[in-house]
Structures are given as C-alpha cells and as structure tokens.
C-alpha cells in the first residue's frame, strides 16, 4: 500500500472521530505521564546525589562527618552545636587517619567591595581543605597555617563573587568587607562551572577557620569534618572508631541516636542503587497497570470504530484493498495513537515533574533514552491493543460491509 495514502488515511481516521481519538489518547497519555514523571524525578534525584558526591570530592578514601543526626547525607533536622574543635583534635589521633579537615560555613553573607556587593557562602576552613577537594588556584594563594594561627583577615574568592565584585579587574590585594570587617583578597579559585543539577561550586568565599569562628560566625562548632584515610580496606573499622570517639566526646548515652552523620562513598552508592531498585520496581508496576488499562481502552474503542466504519472498509476492499491493507491501516492508526499519546505523556510527565520539583528542590531530568523507551512502550501498547480490532476489520466480508 502506498505510504502517502496510508499516512493520509490514518490521519483521516483519527481526525474523523475526535472523541474516540481523545479517549484513546487519554489512557496512554496518563500512563506514560506517570512513568515519565517518576523517571524524571528519580533521575533528577540521582543526578543531584551524584552531583553532590562530585562536589564533595568524594573519593573512596574520604569519610565525611556531618553535624546533626538524621539519615545519611540528608539535611540535618536541626542545628547541632556538638561537633567542635575538640573532636578535630581527637580525630587526628585515631589510627589510619591521614588528615582531618574541619569546616564551618554560613550560606548567605553579604560581601561588599568598594562599589559592588554580593551575597555568597562564607566558609571557614583550614589549609587542608584544598588537599581534600583537589581544587586549584587561578591566582594568588590559598589559606596558610600562618593565616590560621594569626587569625588573619584574608579571603579566597570563587569566581562567581569575584566577578560580581570586581568585574574584569584583578581582585588580588583588594579589600572586601564581610560583616563590616575588612578582608584582603589573597587568592582566586579556578572556575568549575555550574553543575547540571544547578549547583554553582564557584559561588563561595573562604577565610581561615579561626577567623570565621572568632570574627564572622562567632561560634566554635563545626558544620562538618572531612577525613582522608590511608588504608581504604580498613575503612569500616576507622568509621567505627570515629563513631565511638564522637559518641564519647559528646557524652551520648547508649540509647541516644548519633548527633552526627558519618557518610562514606560506599554508603552513598549503596543508598543510590537501593532507592534505584525500589524505584524501578514501582515504575514497572505503574507502567504495566497504566499501559494495560489504556490498551484495553484502545482495543474497545477501536472495536466500536471498526463497526462504525464498516462501509469505509467495504469500499476500500471493493477498490482492491487486501485484508492486509485494511489490517495495516488500523494497526497504523493504533500505533499513531500510541505515538501521540506517548509524546503527550512525556510532555505532561515532564511538566508534572517540574511542578513537583518546585517543591522538592531539585530539577527533573528526562534523558532522550527514557523518552525513546517510553515512546516505544506507548507505540507497542497501541499496536498490541489494535491487533484484535484490526483483525476484525480485515476479516469483514466486503459484501456485508458494503451493505
């Protein structure tokens, strides 16, 4: 059968009974939308996690200790003040610990240069920070032990605040006021660029931990501590030792939960794959049910349509259409319904995912691969559902159909 005519006839078949077509589409659209929403959300979450791992410089020899209890690496439920410099001291003495990098920060602080100001993250760190993260300087130097000891008012800028404050001019040696305290710019980080999760690693400024504790944040408790260990194979025992030390430092009774979280790359990866698996199972379930239902809807509507279009079928048979031609036309219609429904479903799903994302705080991701798989499922559903009606149409006796 001529392809152009097939296209035209399929279009005519679908346009001629808009209500039928709409009903058939709704089922598939909802089914595919449900699936794509979940996939988009899941992939968004996953990419955010991977993003975080990357930004944390999470190698296998890293142990991350976050202040505050709660599960794994999620945001802590409340401010905790128990992670302190004393803990840092104790950690240095544990076996297998190569280095300890304490960290405190405040998310939004205004930095003021002569004419410009910018709101950015201010972080109090030690010189080891650079080693644990593997960052490089574009200009100037990083913080030194000397800075730390003397509580110098020096700051290292990420490119984002540096550009806003100084534009194209060289920021080195310039003064920046942070909470009304003048800091001298001594270094500029290399630019890393905004990650696909929307996180900007260059939006930061760093001062010596001692300075931030005494002058800026006025607190000695930390937000996190990062350890590098020597022997990765002994990670589990090191984690246990860290936990014991912190619990005893914080005087936690036996029944009390940790007031800190220890996160290792392994634990993080395990969490990702675990949640990935439950997500997949749920997805397959939803997809199966949704597509099954829409398949039944399509089959029924098409079966009725075949009866309504008997004379058209009879006519085409009389003009020389074979049973295969008739079958092909109805299958193609069902397939196109599947395709259109799939496209609509992907669009709707992506939209819904964006809406949900607005509340969840991470952008949905819909890869081309997922779209392709969703479309393939939709088209298959359409064609399988159309099989029976198409066969009924093809088997119509032309003489009967013309009557």
């Amino acid at each position: 059968m001529h392809a152009g005519t097939l296209v035209r006839e399929v279009r005519r078949g679908l346009v001629l009974a808009p209500r039928n077509t709409a009903c058939m589409l709704v089922g598939i659209v909802i089914g595919i939308a449900a699936v794509t929403t979940i996939v988009a959300m899941g992939q968004g979450a996953r990419s955010k996690v991977l993003d975080r791992m990357k930004r944390f410089g999470f190698g296998p020899n890293v142990i991350y200790i976050g202040a505050g209890g709660g599960r794994r690496f999620r945001a802590r439920p409340r401010k905790t003040t128990t992670l302190t410099f004393d803990d840092v001291q104790g950690l240095w003495d544990l076996p297998n610990v190569r280095l300890v990098a304490p960290y405190q920060r405040e998310r939004r602080i205004r930095l003021i240069a002569r004419r410009q100001n910018v709101v950015t993250r201010v972080e109090g760190v030690t010189p080891l920070w650079l080693i644990t993260r593997g960052w490089k300087m574009a200009q100037g130097r990083f913080l030194t032990n000397e800075d730390l000891r003397a509580r110098r008012k020096v700051v290292v800028l990420g490119t984002t605040p540096a550009r806003k404050l100084f534009g194209a001019t060289d920021p080195l040696g310039k003064l920046v006021r942070i909470k009304n305290v003048p800091f001298r710019v001594v270094g500029l980080f290399e630019e890393h660029g905004v990650s696909e999760g929307g996180y900007d690693p260059d939006d930061r400024s760093m001062v010596p931990l001692t300075t931030s504790a005494s002058v800026l944040l006025h607190r000695t408790h930390l937000d996190s501590i990062r350890l590098l260990i020597d022997d990765v194979t002994r990670q589990a025992e090191t984690v246990a030792a860290v936990r014991m030390l912190l619990r005893s430092n914080h005087a936690l009774a036996e029944a009390v939960d940790d007031d800190f979280r220890i996160v290792t790359p392994e634990a993080l990866l395990r969490w990702i794959t675990e949640s990935g698996r439950t997500l997949t199972i749920m997805l397959v379930l939803i997809a199966t049910v949704a597509l099954l239902v829409s398949g039944v809807v399509i089959a029924n509507i098409m079966l009725v349509a075949v009866q309504e279009r008997r004379s058209e079928i009879g006519l085409k048979r009389s003009l020389g259409a074979t049973r295969r031609n008739i079958m092909a036309q109805f299958l193609a219609e069902a397939g196109v319904v599947g395709l259109l429904g799939g496209l609509g479903g992907c669009a709707l799903g992506y939209g819904v995912a964006h809406l949900v994302a607005a509340f969840m705080g991470y952008p949905p991701l819909l890869s081309l691969k997922v779209v392709a798989v969703a479309l393939a499922f939709a088209v298959t559903t359409g064609i399988v559902a159309g099989m029976h009606p198409a066969r009924v149409a093809a088997r119509l006796d032309p003489v009967e159909a013309l009557r």
């Binding site: 059968m1 001529h2 152009g4 005519t5 097939l6 035209r8 006839e9 005519r12 346009v15 001629l16 004379s311 058209e312 009879g314 006519l315 085409k316 048979r317 009389s318 003009l319 020389g320 259409a321 074979t322 049973r323 295969r324 031609n325 032309p398 003489v399 013309l402």
Partner: protein, 251 residues
C-alpha cells in the same frame, strides 16, 4: 479471443441457520468487451449477489466464472483484491465517498492499492475527474458537492485504474432524474469509448440507457435481450443544454 465475462451455471446459496437461500441458481451468460448491459430485477431477485460475483467481491457456491479469459470463481481473497483493483471499477448507490476528503484524494484511493503505485497518480486522478466534467471541483470535499457531482467523483474513482469493466450498483438510486440522466449519459459515453459497463438496477428507465438487458427473477435469468429503444435514447442525451458535461456520443 475469449469473451470478457463468461458465466456458466452460477449458483449462490446462503445458509441462514437450517434454511438454505438460493440467491442465484443456474445463471449462465456471456458479456463481450465493449458491451453496455443492465441487470434488472425486483429486490431479492439476486442481482446484487450477481454483481458481487461479477465484481470479484464474492465467490459463487458453484459454477464457473471467467473474467478476461481467467477463471476466478475459486481464487483466493488476496488474488481477488488484485483483480478488483486492476480490472473492475465500482460505483454504488450511496456513492461511498470518503467524507472530509477532497474529490482528488477520493479518486486517488484505488491507486494506493495498486502495486507499484503509479508515479503519475495525481495526473491520472486529475484526468479521471476531467473525464467526468469535474476538473474544476478537484479540491472540493463531498459535503461541498451535489449528489450528481458526488456520483461523478465516484465514477472518476472507478475509472482511475483504467479497468476493463465498470460495475454500477443502482448508480441513480439516490439522485433526482436530471442528475441521474447526467450520470447515465457519462456511462453511455464511456461505453462509446470502449469501456464495458454493467449497471445493476431495478428501474426500467435506467435500464433503457443500456443496449442489453438481463432480467433476473428469483435467482434465475428470465430474459436477455437487446434494448431496442437505445438509439432513440442516445439522441435524448441533454443536447438542448450546451453546458451539459456530456455530449452525445456518435453511434
């Protein structure tokens, strides 16, 4: 050369439960290429059944039917479809045009089932519309055409594959007499150009436009004779109307 249509002892029996209905029995006749034949009879006489068999839409229960020298009585469904497409052009009482589809696209439809699809399909469809005087209306949909025009589109559709036989089932049944005469005049002209036309009707007026009349009753042929007034009717083609789409064919 073998006759175009040769039927021997055709019979068709329908079973409705325990009752066997003999729609046709012992029907034999021959139609040569270039004839114009009316098949007439009251309803239930078996003329529709005969038309379906002649049109290769249906197979006889018994008997022989050869079309263009080829025995077709027991061919497969797919083979019959190819024969219908290549050799037979149908028109129906209710036109059976695809709604919301232009005249040109309606006429193109049979070519879609031709293998290979002709490269000049559009030109052929346009020429077929021209041949029924609707060249100007190619882009109109059935809803925008009068009944007579719709039937003429249907004739163009039947013509587009250049079939040997035009089979018309009550072609004027849904038309007023003026439009009906126009349609019959087209068949007459096409016949004069050499096309074999078979018109199934229950109407004696319509039958008189042909040259040969086969009467059926209760599934049997009761008479098969030339239409004598035919020549007079040729002259009756609306010559008084210069705008008429069809001019009388010289006999």
């Amino acid at each position: 050369m073998a006759p175009l249509i040769h039927c021997t002892d055709l019979a068709k029996v329908y079973r409705k439960g325990a009752v066997a209905v003999h729609a046709l029995s012992g029907v034999s006749f021959t139609i040569e290429a270039g004839e114009m034949v009316a098949i007439m009879g009251p309803s239930g006489a078996g003329k529709s059944t005969l038309m379906h068999i002649l049109g290769c839409l249906d197979s006889p229960t018994s008997g022989r039917f050869s079309l263009d020298g080829e025995e077709v009585a027991h061919k497969s469904d797919a083979e019959l479809a190819i024969i219908r497409n290549a050799k037979i052009g149908f028109t129906f009482q209710s036109f059976h045009l695809l709604p919301r589809t232009t005249a040109l696209e309606n006429v193109l439809l049979p070519l879609a089932y031709s293998n290979p699809y002709p490269a000049d399909a559009e030109a052929r469809a346009a020429a077929a519309l021209e041949a029924v005087g609707l060249g100007e209306r190619a882009s109109h949909t059935p809803a925008e055409l009068s009944g007579g025009e719709q039937q003429r589109v249907a004739i163009a559709r039947a013509l587009v594959t250049d079939p040997q036989i035009l089979l018309a089932d009550e072609p004027t049944g849904n038309l007023d007499s003026v439009a009906g005469n126009e349609v019959l005049a087209i068949f007459q002209r096409l016949n004069a150009e050499g096309r074999t036309c078979i018109i199934v009707t229950h109407d004696a007026e319509t039958a008189r436009w042909t040259r040969r009349l086969i009467r059926l009753k209760d599934g049997r042929i009761v008479s098969d004779e030339p239409v004598l007034e035919n020549d007079r009717l040729y002259a009756k083609v609306p010559a008084e109307d210069p705008e008429a789409p069809c001019t009388p064919a010289p006999s």
